[in-house]
Symmetry: C2
Subunit: 384 residues, 2 copies
């Protein structure tokens, strides 16, 4: 990148700071000469920018411990990005549990904490459990609350840009909840709320099964299935934030819900009773005919939902997560049926992150937010 | 826009040319003073750029016909964009007809020509009919072939970036056809091939039912249904160009094809026999019970396909086109059913362009290509 001249000096300073930070973050530590070479900035500019970043607490001079260099005269000063200058949280709020992940500014995970919560617990109780998990996590890690720079949250439902849950039938009291605002009271940093499947697809793209592709659909299989999509590496939320809410695709008939299909009696399962689901799958593996038929019906429904997504979006890859991720039996029928019904069948893979996908994606949201603030100038990422 | 200083002089000239062209195109004609004001460029820069554009044939000085100004001394010279400096074609290749639209560089339509072709006609015959239509259209409009700057083409099937039809079951001999290359031999300008539903959504966004929204799904209803989507104003083609190919969503059962659902006998209709379809609809309107049941089945299938798209993508608007656009009866059931099944039901509208949608969208493709060349510098549109 060439040096910029003229124009708004404060804008220039911000651009140059972002460029230097980016260069430092890509390496363990670097000398001023190395930064000058990598960034294309002048030596005096780099010196001024590094000085400012040290004052801001984002960069520190490392100990000159290279004995070899020392002997040859004054050693070159080396600098590194202070990933410990701030911290991030990734939170999951699900039907059965709440979970929290803590990381530094490089996204390196420093600790995790999860707590069970009843499927029928009201919103207040669910949020209390989450706050408890966060407090425990921060205490164990020895991280002050004031060090948090951003908090990401993944939860079922249609989430609006301001963090309000417009529609969330999976959790009691969730529809209409101003989740971002409620959680915001516990933190002095931005709180970013996202649909759970959307968070999960970010996670699989970051460090999971979708690391190699920018066009991926993540299916959060379960009794209330949903999906999150990346198109060209960007999250596709839809016009009203409802993209991927395939759980509503009951057009096969009112009765074709997972809980009805998976029932081995005349009564459907309870929509959130994953234990009952596990039992049906276990019975099927043991050869129980009614259970096998039920699993078969469920897989057909899943194939149908996934095929609808694939035909609409044409992704390179479909990642199956949620509790279905524990089922070895799902992948093969999915691949076979998608090959039958889709003009260009995508690759199909299981989630690599499993249970951690939603909280990890929420952490990625927080990291994205901080990176955007640190490394972005006027909306343009300086990533090269 | 402020004046740029320093840097690569030829890049600057191109930026300034694009800025001036853009300003001139937004108005009938303008004086150098007006261009200077609108663009923020200096007077000498504007003079130099306009001179260059006149040499390139893209700008012309208009006759100074304002008597009032003349009397007050030497009238200010006025300039205009020469939309007639080049021409564009939008072509449709369908199962039953081929069609061509001719426009100037502003996209103003100068003429149209269509020819019927048999549904079973081989590819060579279909292309010959199209070439015939184009030759007639150019002759009637008095436009030389060498004046064409770009040709857009809309056709059923999955189309690759190089204009090859990867899969096209609606037309005989279409799969594997190097359509872009074949048509390219007839023109000395770029030929851009696109899936017909993708072309149609561009058209409705340009001058049809979707002019007000950037998040729209166009459903080309018919015996071989397909869909095209804009996400944030950009065409979503999918990873392999197969996005929106909902015609393959036969998961309701192998027999749930439109031609089977719409049959009033035990035999399905011929997949491309739109005349037979029209008869079923006419019978239904006249109260024939079997025909009404068939239409009802067809609408249920259409609702299902559209719901799948809506749940996956969450568009603001769904536009229904293709031959179903002639059916007043489709909209109400669609709205009612989508409201039942979708968490955030989109608006539903009929195509405004009807039969002209695909060729109009193909013309828009050609216009986009030319605008990108005229008004883009290093990938950044200068539109403001």
């Amino acid at each position: 990148m060439g040096q910029l001249t003229g124009g708004d000096p404060s804008l220039l300073r911000r651009i140059n700071s972002a460029v230097v930070l980016h260069a430092l973050r890509a390496t363990d530590c670097a000398t001023l000469t190395e930064i000058t070479r990598v960034t294309g900035l002048s030596r005096p500019t780099v010196e001024g920018v590094v000085e400012g970043l040290i004052e801001a607490g984002l960069v520190v001079e490392t100990a000159a411990d290279e004995g070899g260099a020392r002997r040859q005269g004054r050693p070159a000063r080396r600098f590194r990005f202070r990933a410990e200058a701030g911290h991030l949280l990734g939170l999951e709020i699900g039907p059965h549990r709440v979970a929290a992940l803590l990381s530094d500014l490089d996204g390196r995970v420093l600790g995790a904490q999860a707590k069970d919560v009843g499927a029928g617990a009201p919103a207040d109780e669910r949020l209390d459990r989450l706050r408890g998990a966060v407090a425990e996590l921060l205490r164990r890690a020895g991280v002050a609350r004031g060090s948090l720079r951003a908090v990401g949250v993944g939860t079922p439902g249609i989430v609006e840009a301001d963090g309000t849950v417009r529609l969330g039938t999976a959790l009691p009291g969730w529809t209409g909840l101003r989740l971002g605002e409620r959680l915001g009271r516990s933190f002095r940093c931005p709180v970013l709320v996202e649909n759970d499947a959307n968070a999960a697809v970010l996670a699989e793209h970051w460090k999971g099964a979708a690391a190699e592709t920018d066009d991926v659909v993540f299916v959060l299989a379960g009794l209330s299935p949903g999906a999150g999509s990346l198109i060209g590496g960007r999250l596709h939320r839809g016009y009203g934030g409802a993209a991927g809410e395939i759980g509503a695709l009951h057009l096969l008939g009112r009765e074709a819900t997972p809980e009805a299909l998976l029932s081995t009696t005349d009564e459907p399962l309870h929509p959130l009773d994953e234990q009952a689901v596990a039992e049906v799958f276990a019975l099927a593996r043991d050869g129980d005919l009614r259970a096998r038929a039920a699993v078969e019906r469920f897989i057909q429904r899943l194939v149908h939902d996934v095929a609808a997504l694939v035909l609409a979006l044409d992704p390179e890859l479909v990642v199956i997560g949620g509790w279905a991720a524990g089922l070895d039996g799902v992948l093969e029928p999915l691949r076979r049926e998608l090959a039958r019904y889709c003009l260009r069948p995508p690759r199909v893979a299981l989630s690599l992150l499993g249970e951690a996908a939603v909280a990890t994606g929420a952490l990625r949201l927080a990291l994205d937010h901080v990176e955007e603030k640190l490394f972005t100038v006027d909306g343009t990422l300086t990533r090269r």
